[in-house]
């Protein structure tokens, strides 16, 4: 079999790590997905890696969503609106 130097493979931990984003978004080729899932079935290190990667995404989303972002204060809205108007009058 010709060495597949350019095509994606999911036979090693390094290859699995590099494909993890596409795997999570379901955009991997089915054959590669099968290979990756086969690897996960025999590699506890990569299973642990995948769980921690997914947790990282989840925690990042929680952080970015945590707390309601404030509105721009009314007084500042007015001031900005006014300054934009002045800018435009000056041309």
């Amino acid at each position: 079999m010709a060495k597949q130097t350019r095509s994606k493979r999911a036979g090693t931990c390094k290859q699995v790590t590099s494909l993890i984003t596409d795997y999570l978004t379901g955009t991997l080729d089915p054959e590669i997905t099968n290979e990756l899932e086969h690897h996960l079935g025999v590699c506890p290190d990569c299973v642990a890696f995948l769980k921690t990667y997914k947790k990282t995404i989840q925690v990042t989303q929680s952080l970015l969503l945590s707390g309601n972002l404030p509105e721009l204060e009314r007084s500042k809205q007015k001031a900005l609106h006014k300054s934009i108007g002045s800018h435009n009058e000056r041309g």
Binding site: T21, T52, L72
Partner: protein
């Protein structure tokens, strides 16, 4: 499939899918018609229309800038920059469906410009926090520990948030923008790419490396190897 995102994030993904399919805003017919009318009046130089557009959109622009920049003063600067541009260049866009996208891109690019001008001393080398591999492709440090449950220990949440916030600030500006737009706002890779001038492959690469970096920071915080 990708983990569930916020309602806002999901709606943004749906928005862009719909926009690309139909060229129309994904909104109620009433809202589309009202926005179209405002945009047409804005193009004609109607200052009342500009005022209405400003008030309708100022908080969305501000919040998006705040997510990207992390501080109010810079976010306010972005608001000013964006709406100055809107006023100056209103005549150049074709219709309401393009306006919202244009506003979003103006905001992201203005924020990105600010991020780039911020002190670069915040950035750290990613390599110290990325996984490493042996020549045969196995993880260098084994076993790889699954610390995902440890993250949910409530007693550490504030410190965790502080750490992750700090780690986000340590990302390169473009990488931070990609993470925020993808993982918070739920934009598709191709839309992020169009906005930031990146190929889809580049967006994916940056997102992946950033996530690996953040993962490494979390691992170290919890007392584990990032590798």
């Amino acid at each position: 499939m990708v983990e569930a995102k916020s309602v806002e994030a999901r709606s943004n993904r749906q928005y862009f899918t719909s926009y690309e399919e139909t060229g129309e805003l994904r909104s109620s017919a009433g809202e589309s018609s009202r926005e179209r009318s405002l945009v047409e009046r804005l193009k004609a130089g109607d200052t009342d229309a500009f005022d209405a557009i400003f008030h309708q959109n100022v908080n969305q622009v501000y919040r998006r800038a705040l997510r990207l920049l992390g501080n109010e003063a810079d976010a306010e600067d972005v608001v000013q920059e964006v709406f100055l541009t809107v006023h100056k260049k209103a005549k150049t866009f074709r219709g309401a469906a393009e306006f919202s996208t244009w506003l979003y891109r103006l905001t992201v690019n203005a924020a990105l410009g600010k991020l780039r001008r911020q002190k670069r001393s915040k950035e750290v080398l990613y390599d110290d926090y990325l996984p490493k591999f042996q020549k045969d492709g196995h993880h260098l440090v084994r076993p790889v520990v699954d610390w995902s449950d440890k993250v949910d220990d409530r007693s550490d949440q504030r410190e965790l948030q502080r750490l992750l916030g700090q780690a986000l600030e340590q990302l390169k500006p473009m990488d931070k923008a990609v993470v925020v737009l993808s993982d918070l706002e739920g934009y598709l890779d191709r839309e992020i790419g169009k906005t930031l001038g990146l190929s889809v492959a580049a967006v994916k690469t940056r997102l992946h490396r950033s996530r690996l970096f953040l993962r490494g920071k979390l691992a170290v915080h919890l007392g584990y190897s990032p590798a």
